[in-house]
Amino acid sequence: MAVGIDCGSLVTDALPNGIVVLDGETKVLFWNKWMERHSGIPSDQAQGRCLGELFPRIAGTRLVAAIQTALMHRLAGIVSPSIHAPPLPLYRHAEDCAKDERLAQLIHVVPIKLADAKVCTLYVQDVTAAVLRERRLNEQAKELAASNAVLQAQLDEIQALQSKIAEMSARDALTGVLDREHIEQKLEEAFAIAAKNAGTVAVALFDVDLLKKINETHGHAAGDAILKSLAGLLKEVLPGNASVGRLDEDSFLVVMPAISLDEVQHLAEQVRRRFADQQLGYQGNLVTATLSAGLAIFPEHGGTSEELMQCLDLVMFLARHDGYDRVLAYGQTPQEA
């Protein structure tokens, strides 16, 4: 290499980064080709002038503070692109300048020892491409999160429908109350809870009197209408926490937690009276029906669901024997009721 060639500035001019050297008063000592290209200020015009004079709008920015720290305390600093707007008016292309679209800048401010003089260097990196890439990735991540939320909502909807279907399949097709399997399940659940909390469970069986005769006289459709109206009446009169299910062709089982025998008796009597009073118009005929109901309560009448169901069978037998249209609790004689 020929003697006298300034190797350092050849190298710095070839670099794809901006290099600026400032003296203690922030006057430019060195300004590489990259800086010329992207600021539009030739090196000979930049040299000897303060950075704040070249770029008046940098006053008060974090870059100025980092330069002061480097010059005063010889401590290096970093000015990152994501938390500041680009501090220097540097542009990738001439047309960006008109729109003031600055290139994204990562700036390292490094103090250098030059005899006793306080000097620092700015290394400016163009990170525009990386910033754009990052932004695009963030947007994609947000879009992904949004479409995930949509999928999740659809999944929730499907699950809600599924549980609705499961609930519907647990129902008696004619009357809409629970089917035998599920009312028995409710009975077991109510027993388990009552046993654990020392609570009560009342069970009541509602039988339509002489349903077979109604079917023979008026047809099965009339019998069905009567069963439907009884199911409706049970749901209307009994409390919300009561579970109603169809046990047999002509009978409904009701499970009521946390209730007294007196209350159950009162409610059952109400159902009996209203059922007997109603007249169903069916194909020009007025059809009436009565019901018999049996009641038993845990723990008073039995310790298990089987024992209570046996109590109900006995009570129903007594009610039918006594001439129907009665509400009878276990242990009561028909006269007492």
Binding site: L75, A76, G77, I78, S80, P81, S82, A130, E134
Partner: protein
């Protein structure tokens, strides 16, 4: 271990608090809201005691910004935050919450600048009050956990003294804790204590 008096420790704590106070002002500008910083405790420990001192804070995943300082005494200074706190800090600096995955390159640089501001502020306040000069390297960011933090300690066998400063940060009503850690040799520690004594003498305290 070199003995550190109560007075020396209090004085150092005061000086570091001046530094973090300056840092808080710069950070407030970036976040565009008041940032409060305080350094309530200063401990001189042996490397083996550091992990224990950091116990209690959820310190499994760490975000570490380090810088080397040289001058009358030399030190590797680190700002250590639990990673999830670092994510919150970066979120406040970027103006939007960062998803709790790994910090991306730019978020690492943002964290780097955050550490740079605090570490430089502490060192420059030491330099101003001790009337001395330091030189500081560029900050570097890394992710670490308890194990790698230990390795880092053992790799500096010539720096058996660790100065651990608890840092309490408050941004937009959110309180976050981290630590400043200065690792130095016994010689550097003696120089630091000498500087503190000179400072106290100039203040007419000793």
């Amino acid at each position: 271990m070199v003995e550190v008096s109560e007075l020396q420790r209090d004085a150092l704590s005061e000086i570091i608090n001046i530094g973090v106070g300056r840092a808080a002002a710069s950070l407030s500008q970036i976040v565009r809201d008041e940032v409060e910083l305080s350094a309530p405790t200063v401990l001189f420990l042996e490397p083996s005691e550091v992990n224990q001192a950091l116990n209690g804070v959820e310190f499994d995943e760490l975000s570490v910004v380090s810088q080397d300082f040289s001058g009358p005494f030399d030190s590797r200074a680190m700002l250590v935050f639990p990673e999830k706190n670092a994510l919150v800090i970066v979120g406040h600096m970027l103006g939007e919450m960062v998803p709790p995955e790994q910090l991306s390159e730019f978020e690492q640089e943002a964290m780097c600048e955050f550490g740079n501001i605090i570490l430089n502020a502490c060192i420059s306040s030491l330099a101003d009050l001790f009337a001395v000069e330091f030189e500081g390297s560029l900050p570097s960011y890394r992710h670490a956990d308890r194990q790698t933090l230990e390795i880092l300690e053992t790799s500096v066998g010539d720096r058996p003294v660790v100065l651990v400063v608890q840092v309490d940060l408050k941004i937009r009503k959110q309180e976050l804790q981290g630590h400043l850690i200065f690792m130095m040799s016994v010689t550097s520690l003696s120089e630091l204590l000498d500087s503190i004594d000179h400072y106290l003498a100039r203040q007419g305290i000793v």
